[in-house]
Subunit: 126 residues, 2 copies
């Protein structure tokens, strides 16, 4: 079963980052772990938040962009204008993501070509 609290080094190990990184995220206001005396204690929600931030980083998003995307989930958008505005933001993000996806597929196709050339090169030698 999943743990209900994590220490900073547990999370650092799990995600392959340093504790400095996690403290830095707090310093930047991305996460707000509670404290037990001095020590930070991370909830499952904190953990997921870090995980999502790192997912964003993997596709080249800045930390700010990541949290903006993450915070689209949390409610608090009540009136019509806010909802319409949020929908537009969602569509912009989607467009960018689709383009990135296309970029990746193009690169994957390129890699297939390179590999095919390599394999032909090996066969021709033998």
């Amino acid at each position: 079963m999943a743990k209900s609290t994590y220490t900073i080094s547990e999370l650092a190990n799990e995600f392959g980052v340093t504790t400095r990184t996690i403290r830095f995220y707090e310093e930047k206001g991305l996460i707000h772990p509670r404290r037990e005396g001095q020590k930070r204690l991370y909830s499952p929600a904190d953990r997921v938040r870090i995980k999502l931030i790192l997912r964003g980083k993997r596709i080249g998003m800045s930390l700010q962009e990541s949290v903006e995307l993450i915070d689209m989930y949390k409610p608090g958008h009540n009136n019509r204008d806010q909802l319409h505005s949020l929908i537009r933001t969602v569509q912009d993000r989607r467009a960018r993501l689709l383009r990135q996806k296309q970029d990746i597929e193009d690169m994957l196709a390129g890699l297939d070509e390179v590999q095919a050339l390599c394999e032909r090169g090996l066969e021709d030698q033998q």
Copy 2:
């Protein structure tokens, strides 16, 4: 028909970057346009190279990573060891790209959810 040479500002405009960016790429050894006197003249090949570098940037690759990927295409890998080594590099890259692609698909699914929530919120109001 496609042009056979480009000025720096033509390319900067086409790609939505500044001339400083393009000069910076040269300074870093990523491109090598020929000169006409002082002025830089870019070939279609230079142009494609810049385009691919910017494609890499869009999915979070560093400039170095981009050129490494681009230079996998150019031949010069002749002996078996080089070919095998290149194949491994290709497979590593592919793995990373597949993961990024998965990340993007997850985010897209998340955006769909957010939008659905927004639309329900709007309907509930009316």
